[in-house]
């Protein structure tokens, strides 16, 4: 007994003794006097309880006591405890795992000073502004707006706007061959304006970061390295500062290291080196000095980042400065671009866009699973409260208040939830560890997520445990504690159990139907028509610049390499394109027949001769491209059927010409062949109008990459060693068979379907367990009744039917409710589906069968036990 309780006891005792002494003095016998005094005083224990409730934070003391009490109780029924903790652990753990991903990928702010002020600058226009050359993206404006939104600006625009805004410029990072010491390694290099680090408010970790004067014409080339690069490649050696490293064989002086927590302005990108914008042409990439990137206002290539304290709306003056920088004055208001600020973290990160929706959807699913798990625990506790009815009655009679009992039951749930949460943390860590390597871009994601548990994750998990306790503990606790004291009153505690069971079955139905749709989608994606023969193909990418070849020598080199590849035993055809097929990216252009009103958008495959044969495209008319086409006065192209239809309608396309590039005003090209539609960058979506043209010996190598495709007569994977041996000096990346390439492309889809399926099965298992648990428990409670019935001659089948009927009532209600819910909810995920309609009941059949089968098992087992009871044993039990 605590000191406070002892004092309470003493105080009451003092009162009773004084009163008893007084009564004794008036002539009562001592025993009677004490009895009388107690009667006058009232119910001692319940009064004590009332006094205790006046103490500050009294419930905390109670909570501690109740939790210890619960732990003792749980130790007595370890199976029940384990089931509850496991249920909650899986439910909470799944949420924690998804939250860990959401937190690090979607919620964290950029590692810069005052991140909320940072905006990506873009422009919006009704018609395309005067752009002569562009590197960047122009996209359709988001839903609800018209026109298009673009991110590249001319350098002139950047300089004009700098007077109006606190602004930094950057280029997306590119891979380069970097030699620090020893051999050259591939590293990502980001180019930024000199004020970039200052604008973001990043302090140097070692040395200094970039300054304005580093980014002036004629300044000596310098580079800042990331903490990761410094640690991994430079061995954290402080003396590397001031040393020279070679980026694509140009000397740059390392001047400093960025802090460990700083990865840049894009969630999911982590450039190894940062150099001033002025020195990008040295790298020999797509930004070439001859295109005059710093002086030609018609060349749009630089991206902008602004710090805008306060409002995020561009002012009139800023817009005017932008328009003043255009190469030619816009013709009308339609083609006058206006500035647009978008929050930097969301706008610049591809990872955020890619994962935002799937993660939210998974979180939603996981919350449903948690509901099912929590409902199981609520039902378990309800059942136990009924079993402890006698104990509860005694305690109420002894003066325990209903509130006090409720708190105790809540504490019981809380203990289970907290133990479940502890298990959940382990489970979540394991799950995240398993998931990350399966994600596209997993190295960067691993860096963002980090390894350990941080306070946010711990806090989230604890909060979920408390929330679950409040939501699911209150009702059972109330049911148990507000027991009427009149003996013999019938118990009516089954309604809530029934509601929970129906809800569980309904949610499991929704999840399993959803998972079924995603699984069917994945199957459809794999079975889709690719338009070329994807079997017996192997492909790999080489970076022409990293290989050290000058653009001028590149073409002859790769033509020779193509011949050597084709001569390998087992290889029947070999060719290469600048575009890697099915890799979520490509080259885009637009063109049109002479006199056409609107240019047509299409994709381009600039390739070496023999590419169409190698891919195995089906020729519809004309012929494939050959080397001799290179020398034709009018460049010759092969187009696919979609483009033929868009350009020429139903007319024959062979021999026809169209303007290629510059939105329909570029040079004319002649169509020599039409091929069947084939998948270009991804599996989903409509067929993309495509132009197959020959690689230009000079111009097309600026981009850097070339992807070779080999058609083989043998198992394609077996050729990998021979390919590597053929050119040991060539950096070969992503050497895969076409089937593996499809796997890579569909990696996220597969993972998503897998997770949904996993969650749905977990939900089904938990719901079935809940059903099984409740029914078994009821059969247990009614053993005597069943025994009597059997003894009186009831057929066993009747008893079986009695239990089954009870169970199926809930299952049927739940399934019907779930199907209604699924019909509504699956409309939301239609955009995720491929080749099927969410509302088509055929797709619901398999999941529903699975649900009913597992429910049948959960119901049949207890029913079977009921009719197998031996009446004699059952009757003797009580």
């Amino acid at each position: 007994m605590s000191q406070a309780d002892q004092q309470l006891h003493d105080e009451f005792e003092h009162h009773l003794r004084l009163r008893a002494a007084e009564l004794e003095a008036s002539g009562l016998p001592p025993a009677e006097a004490l009895r009388q005094a107690r009667l006058e005083f009232g119910p001692v224990e319940s009064l004590k309880e009332e006094c205790r409730e006046q103490r500050p934070a009294f419930w905390l003391f109670d909570l501690g006591r109740d939790m210890r009490h619960t732990l003792r109780l749980l130790r007595r029924s370890p199976v029940l405890a384990a089931a509850a903790i496991l249920s909650l652990g899986l439910g909470i753990g799944g949420n924690t795992a998804i939250f860990a991903l959401i937190d690090s990928l979607l919620l964290r702010e950029l590692p810069v000073e005052r991140p909320a002020e940072l905006y990506a600058v873009k422009w919006k226009a009704g018609k395309e502004p005067p752009i002569q050359r562009m590197t960047g993206a122009i996209q359709r404006a988001p839903a609800g707006e018209t026109g298009s939104v673009g991110n590249p600006f001319s350098f002139a625009a950047y300089e004009q706007l700098r007077a109006q805004l606190s602004l930094a410029a950057f280029l997306d990072s590119q891979l380069a061959s970097v030699r620090a010491s020893g051999s050259a390694e591939s590293a990502s290099v980001q180019a930024v304006s000199g004020n970039y680090h200052q604008l973001l408010g990043v302090p140097p970790y070692r040395g200094r970061l970039l300054r304005g004067d580093d980014d002036t014409p004629g300044a000596p080339p310098v580079a800042v390295v990331s903490h990761r690069y410094w640690t991994n490649q430079l061995a954290s050696d402080p003396s590397t500062i001031g040393r020279t490293i070679r980026i694509n064989s140009h000397a740059f002086e390392v001047v400093g290291v960025t802090p460990p927590a700083f990865y840049g302005h894009e969630v999911g990108a982590y450039p190894d080196l940062t150099i001033p914008l002025r020195h990008v042409p040295l790298l020999g990439g797509y930004l070439q000095e001859k295109d005059q990137p710093f002086t030609n206002a018609g060349y749009w290539w630089v991206k902008l980042l602004a710090r805008v304290p306060g409002g995020a709306t561009p002012t009139e003056r800023q817009n005017a400065a932008f328009v003043a920088s255009l190469a030619e004055a816009p013709a009308d208001a339609q083609s006058t671009p206006t500035l647009r600020f978008e929050p930097a973290a969301e706008s610049l990160s591809g990872i955020r866009r890619q994962f935002s929706e799937p993660l939210r959807l998974l979180m939603g699913m996981m919350i449903l699973v948690l509901f099912i798990a929590s409902a199981n625990v609520a039902n378990l506790l309800l059942a136990r409260a009924v079993a402890r009815d006698k104990e509860i009655l005694v305690r109420l009679s002894l003066g325990a208040s209903a509130g006090r009992l409720m708190r105790q039951f809540l504490a019981e749930f809380l203990v289970l939830a907290l133990l479940g949460a502890a298990f959940a943390l382990l489970f979540a860590q394991g799950l995240v560890g398993l998931l990350i390597p399966l994600l596209p871009g997993h190295q960067e994601i691993q860096l963002l997520v980090g390894g350990g548990l941080d306070l946010r994750i711990l806090g989230f998990t604890a909060a979920v445990a408390f929330l679950v306790t409040l939501l699911f503990g209150i009702w059972p606790a109330r049911q148990a504690a507000t027991r009427q004291l009149q003996p013999g009153l019938p118990q009516r505690k089954t309604r809530f159990t029934g509601v929970l069971l129906v809800a569980q079955v309904a949610l499991a139905t929704v999840l399993i139907v959803g998972a079924g749709l995603f699984a069917a989608t994945l199957q459809n994606l794999y079975r889709t028509q690719f338009g070329f023969q994807k079997e017996r193909l192997i492909l790999f990418t080489v970076d022409t610049l990293q290989a050290g070849t000058k653009p001028a020598q590149a073409y002859p080199f790769y033509r020779d390499f193509q011949r050597r590849l084709a001569a390998l035993p087992g290889v029947s055809l070999a060719s290469a394109s600048v575009v890697r097929p099915l890799s979520n990216g490509g080259w885009w252009d637009s063109g049109g027949v002479p006199g056409a009103a609107k240019p047509v958008q299409y994709a381009v495959h600039p390739s070496l001769p023999g590419y169409q044969e190698t891919l195995g495209l089906q020729l519809r008319s004309g012929r494939f491209l050959v080397e001799a086409d290179q020398k034709a006065p009018v460049p010759r192209v092969v187009i696919n059927q979609s483009l033929a239809r868009k350009l020429f309608g139903t007319e024959d396309a062979l021999g026809r010409t169209f303007h290629q590039g510059h939105r329909g005003s570029g040079p004319l090209v002649e169509v020599v062949g039409v091929v069947a539609d084939a998948r270009y960058e991804s599996v989903r979506g409509d067929w993309i109008p495509t132009v197959y043209r020959l690689l230009h010996p000079d111009r097309d190598f600026e981009a850097g990459d070339l992807t070779f495709v080999l058609r083989t007569a043998v198992e394609p994977a077996s050729l990998a060693p021979a390919i590597r041996q053929l050119a040991p000096e060539l950096p070969i990346v992503e050497l895969r068979t076409m089937d593996q390439q499809v796997d890579t492309l569909l990696r996220q889809e597969r993972l998503f379907a897998l997770l949904c399926g996993g969650f749905a099965l977990l939900a089904l298992l938990l719901a079935s367990l809940g059903l099984f648990g409740v029914l078994s428990y009821r059969v247990n409670r009614r053993e005597t009744e069943i025994g009597i019935r059997l003894a009186l001659g009831a057929p066993r089948f009747t008893l079986w039917r009695m239990v089954v009927a009870e169970g199926w009532r809930w299952v049927a209600a739940g399934a019907v409710l779930g199907l209604c819910g699924a019909a509504q909810l699956t409309k939301l995920v239609q955009s995720y589906l491929y080749g099927l309609e969410a509302a088509d009941p055929v797709n619901w059949l398999a999941p529903l069968t699975l649900l009913l089968a597992s429910a049948a098992a959960a119901v049949a087992l207890p029913a079977w036990r009921a009719c197998r009871l031996d009446p004699m044993t059952a009757l003797r039990r009580d």
């Binding site: 003092h14 119910p43 319940s46 009064l47 009332e50 006046q54 103490r55």
Partner: protein
Amino acid sequence: MPPTPDPKASGLLQGTLDMMILQVIALEPQHGYAIATRLQQISKDVLQVQQGSLYPALHRLEKKGWLAAEWKESEHGRMAKIYSLTKAGKKQLAEEAENWRRMSAAIGLVMGTAR
């Protein structure tokens, strides 16, 4: 099981009981039993409150800071919890007494005229 004590059931408002307790303790610091006896004596046994129900009220007033308590040896040579009025308690009592006087005068008026 004995009926649960309930101030409302005995026609006594909780605030009124609090005020009377403060008033009794204002006379001199004393222990729970003495307060109970005193209440009954002064009210000429009109107030039939179960004696035990005094204690939750005492503990509540103590928590509110209107009463201070101290364990002292009582007149019978036992340790007893002696309650005394704090400064805040005195102020509270003055306020409540004033309210009460105004209220009962008003009620008296209404009842007097209505008769």
